[in-house]
């Protein structure tokens, strides 16, 4: 069909209008829309790149790749430092390859699993415990990104900053914030999005035939229980989302494990018989804090990716049956 001048003009007009409305729509998108599209993008985006994880003044690089082929998620993460740890995902089966141990841990993950885990979901109670706002546009890994800030209403939880690729809504950088300071940060140093990924980028680097393959034993999560332990002084928004009786490795004594969540942050409380060995008080691992306290015949430890004051309040306000 021969193109007339009017056809060209109409086409150009449509293209210009589409570009204008696309840019306008992007600027007008509400923060929650960005979060929703981010969650969709994390499941659907194919990518390959290098991620830098920073915590406690240390940085480590991870090579990452993800692709969906014939409806099956293929994913690989390779630590560039240390002992060459690799995680290979094929569908919902995940192989954690530990070359120094000549072992492969095999785990079943759900379909929602993705590169990042501590990102807000649509279930987060925005407006109650957190506010979310669009801050500005910046460039991350050479791409245009929009910066979202998730700000807690009180000091009992950490804030988050997320840089989303404006084109795909895929998260390019995340920060966990305590008093405005990043205590944990993950960012792409380089990334290619929705490009063809070579099969070798998704395969293990090691021949694991001679490795010991170990599957996650069933029943590891313990037995769900109705616990008599309660807490009437939880920080606002936290509620119990599960209670289990569990037996930890190397011990025959059951431990009560109660999990509290505010929809984004979570805190575990472990209640065990008083061993007499408890070193009470605070401890930390990276952005996770814990606080242990004796209460009569029991010792209580609260642990979570929350400020130290939060685990202290939760641990010390647990009430005996």
């Amino acid at each position: 069909m021969r193109m007339t001048r009017s056809h060209v003009t109409a086409g150009l007009t449509v293209a210009i209008c589409a570009a204008f409305f696309s840019a306008s729509a992007q600027a007008d998108r509400a923060p929650l829309d960005w979060l929703n599209s981010m969650n969709a993008a994390m499941r659907s985006t194919n990518y390959e790149g290098t991620v830098i994880r920073m915590q406690d003044g240390n940085a480590e690089a991870l090579k990452v790749a993800r692709s969906v082929k014939d409806g099956v998620i293929l994913e690989r993460v390779v630590a560039q430092e240390g002992n060459g740890l690799e995680i290979i995902r094929i569908g919902n089966e995940v192989h954690c390859i530990m070359p120094d141990r000549k072992s492969v841990l095999v785990e079943e993950w759900d379909e929602q699993s993705a590169l990042f885990s501590k990102l807000p979901s649509s279930e987060m109670r925005i407006g109650n415990e957190y506010d979310v706002a669009i801050v500005r546009k910046e460039r991350v890994a050479g791409r245009e990104a929009i910066l979202l800030a998730i700000r807690p209403h009180d000091e009992y939880r950490y804030g988050h900053r997320i840089w989303l690729d404006t084109e795909t809504s895929f998260p390019l950088q995340t920060q966990l914030l305590s008093d405005g300071t990043a205590i944990e940060q993950v960012k792409f140093a380089d990334i290619s999005i929705n490009q063809e990924i070579h099969a070798s980028a998704l395969e293990p680097s090691y021949s694991t035939e001679q490795f010991t393959w170990l599957r996650q034993s069933s029943g590891h999560q313990g037995t769900r229980i109705e616990t008599p332990w309660r807490n009437d002084q939880l920080p606002a928004g936290f509620r119990a989302v599960g209670a289990h009786e569990e037996t930890l490795a190397g011990s025959d004594e059951p431990v009560t494990h109660i999990l509290y969540s505010d929809g984004l942050a979570s805190v575990s409380v472990f209640i065990a018989n008083n061993s007499g060995d408890l070193v009470a008080g605070p401890a930390y691992v990276g952005g996770s804090n814990s606080f242990s306290v004796e209460r009569g015949d029991y010792e209580i430890t609260a642990i979570g990716e929350v400020p130290a004051m939060t685990v202290e309040q939760i641990a010390t306000s647990m009430q005996q049956p």
Partner: protein, 197 residues
């Protein structure tokens, strides 16, 4: 504690102290409980000024002092000073954990300022009358941390990067029960002791 020691401590934490001087410093610290306390205070204040949650160099210092102390008896006065300090949950490997009481004192190096403020109406964390078993406690803390990571991931999706972090933990201390079983039994017997594919 004189300025010379302070400078040596700072250089050690920054990894800039010559090896021979580092050996002398560690020997002095291992033999002098008072100096250890002063050093702990000095490093804690420095960290507070810099708003740093922890120092990699300080971790190395703790471990080397612990190794230097070995099984040497430690002044009993050191026990109580650290009842409410913040402890980094570190791998046991490399630390001379036989001197459990000494380690309690060394944990003072990782004090978190502003945390030890027990309220009047809440149960107060107290030091145990006996010698706490640091090995057991650290192991339990690590297991709690791991279980929390697993449980919280069930609230949402697992994260590949988070799993790298928890596996690093396993790499350091070998505390994943499946790996322990494999190690104890040897590769050939692991098939019987663990659920093998």
């Amino acid at each position: 504690m004189n300025d010379g020691i302070r400078e040596q401590l700072s250089a050690f934490v920054d990894g800039e102290l010559p090896e021979n001087e580092a050996e002398l410093l560690l020997r002095r610290l291992s033999q002098d409980a008072g100096l250890r306390r002063d050093a702990a205070e000095y490093l804690a204040i420095g960290r507070m000024i810099r708003s740093e949650p922890g120092l990699a160099g300080a971790d190395r210092l703790h471990e080397q002092i612990a190794a230097e102390i070995g099984n040497r008896p430690v002044d009993a006065a050191e026990h109580g000073a650290t009842a409410k300090t913040s402890r980094a949950i570190r791998p046991l490997a490399g630390a001379a954990v036989a001197a459990a009481v000494a380690l309690v004192a060394i944990f003072a190096l990782q004090q978190t300022p502003g945390i030890d403020k027990p309220s009047a109406d809440i149960p107060v964390p107290v030091a145990n009358a006996g010698v706490p078993n640091i090995d057991v406690q650290q192991e339990r803390q690590r297991q709690y941390f791991r279980r929390h990571a697993e449980a919280s991931s069930q609230l949402g999706a697992n994260g590949m990067i988070s799993r790298v972090v928890t596996l690093r933990f396993v790499e350091d201390v070998g505390e994943d029960p499946r790996l322990d079983e494999a190690d104890e039994a040897g590769d050939s017997e692991a098939a019987e002791t663990a659920t093998q594919l």
